[in-house]
Symmetry: C2
Subunit: 188 residues, 2 copies
C-alpha cells in the first residue's frame, strides 16, 4: 500500500458517478475517474477492484450494519420486527443523499451488467440476513421468508422514494411500505 490519501475514496466515488452520468458507464475509464478525483490510477485500485465496484462501495458496510442491528435486538423480537429494525438501519445508509442515489440508479438501470451486479448484491444481502435470523434460532423457512419480504419492501420503498417529486425520509417511506404489506397480507 502506498501513502494514505485523505478523502480519496470519497472523491473517487463522486468523480465516478459524475463521469458515468456525463459520458455513460462504458465510455468512462478508470484513468478518467482517477484524474478527476486528483489521484493516480494506482490509488484508484487501492480502493476498488474495478470501475463497477465504485458504484457498489458500501455493500460490506451494509452487511456489517445488518449484523450489528440484529445483535442488539431482544431475543423476543419476531422475525419481521428484526427485519423492520434492519430496514431502519439500511435507510440511514442508503437514504442520506437522494440526488446521489437517483444518479447512481440511473447509471445502473442503463447498463445490463450493472443491473445484474446489483441483483447479485441484493441477493447476497438477503442471504446474509437470512443467516443472521437463523442464528437467532428462527426456523429456516421463516428466516428466509422474512428476509426476502424485507428485501421486497426495501426495493418497492426505495424506488418510490427515488421517483417521488418531494424528497421524503427514506426510513418513513420504508415504514409505510411495511405497513402496506401488513395490510395487503391481512386482507383475505
Amino acid at each position: 500500500m502506498g501513502r494514505w490519501e485523505p478523502g480519496a475514496r470519497e472523491r473517487l466515488r463522486e468523480a465516478a458517478l459524475e463521469l458515468f452520468t456525463e459520458r455513460g458507464f462504458e465510455q468512462t475509464m478508470v484513468a478518467d475517474i482517477a484524474q478527476r478525483a486528483g489521484v493516480t490510477a494506482r490509488t484508484f485500485f487501492r480502493y476498488f477492484a474495478d470501475k463497477r465496484e465504485v458504484l457498489f462501495d458500501g455493500s460490506a458496510d451494509l452487511a456489517k450494519q445488518v449484523q450489528n442491528v440484529v445483535e442488539t435486538m431482544p431475543p423476543t423480537a419476531s422475525a419481521l420486527d428484526v427485519v423492520a429494525a434492519v430496514l431502519d438501519a439500511v435507510a440511514q445508509l442508503a437514504g442520506d443523499d437522494r440526488d446521489r442515489a437517483r444518479a447512481r440508479q440511473a447509471v445502473i438501470t442503463a447498463n445490463t451488467d450493472l443491473r445484474e451486479r446489483e441483483l447479485i448484491k441484493q441477493a447476497a444481502l438477503t442471504a446474509a440476513l437470512t443467516e443472521v435470523l437463523r442464528q437467532r434460532g428462527i426456523g429456516n423457512i421463516e428466516a428466509s421468508l422474512a428476509a426476502e419480504t424485507g428485501s421486497a419492501v426495501f426495493r418497492v420503498a426505495f424506488n418510490q422514494w427515488g421517483d417521488a417529486t418531494e424528497n421524503r425520509d427514506l426510513r418513513d417511506v420504508i415504514r409505510e411500505t411495511l405497513t402496506r404489506l401488513r395490510i395487503l397480507a391481512a386482507a383475505e
Copy 2:
C-alpha cells in the same frame, strides 16, 4: 428456417441439462448438445440463441401464462389473491419435474453468469406481474409490493420444495408459504 424436427426442442433441453450436469456448463459446447440430441448445431440455433438460453426456455411461456391467469380473475379479487392465483399457475409449469428442477438449479448455482441471468429473469417476471396488476387498476405501490411479495414467496417455496427429502406438490408448498407470510405479517 430449415425443416421442422419433431421433439428437437425437448431433446435439446434434456441433452443440455445432462451435459451441464456431467461436464459443467463452461465445458459443454453447443455442438456437444446438438450431437447428443441427434440434431445439427444449426438446428440448435433455430430454437435457442445460446447455450444459456436452453436453461431459461419457458420464461416466455411463463410470462404469457401469468397474463392469462390475471385476465381470468374477477375484478373484485385483491392484489394478493391475484398473485396467489398466478403462483398456482407458475407451480404447474415449474413444478412438474422435481429431479429436473433440482439438476437445473445445481447447474445455475455453480455458475455466476447463470445466477445473474436467473435473477434478471426473475426481476423481469416481477416487473411483468406488477404491470398486469396495474392494468387492473391496482395502484403503483400496491401492485409492485404484491408482485415482489409473490416473487419472494415463490423463491422461498421453490428452494424448500427442491431441498426437501420428500417430493411434495410445489403448489401446496407455495400455498403454505403464502399462509406463513400472512401469519408473519400479521404478528405485531
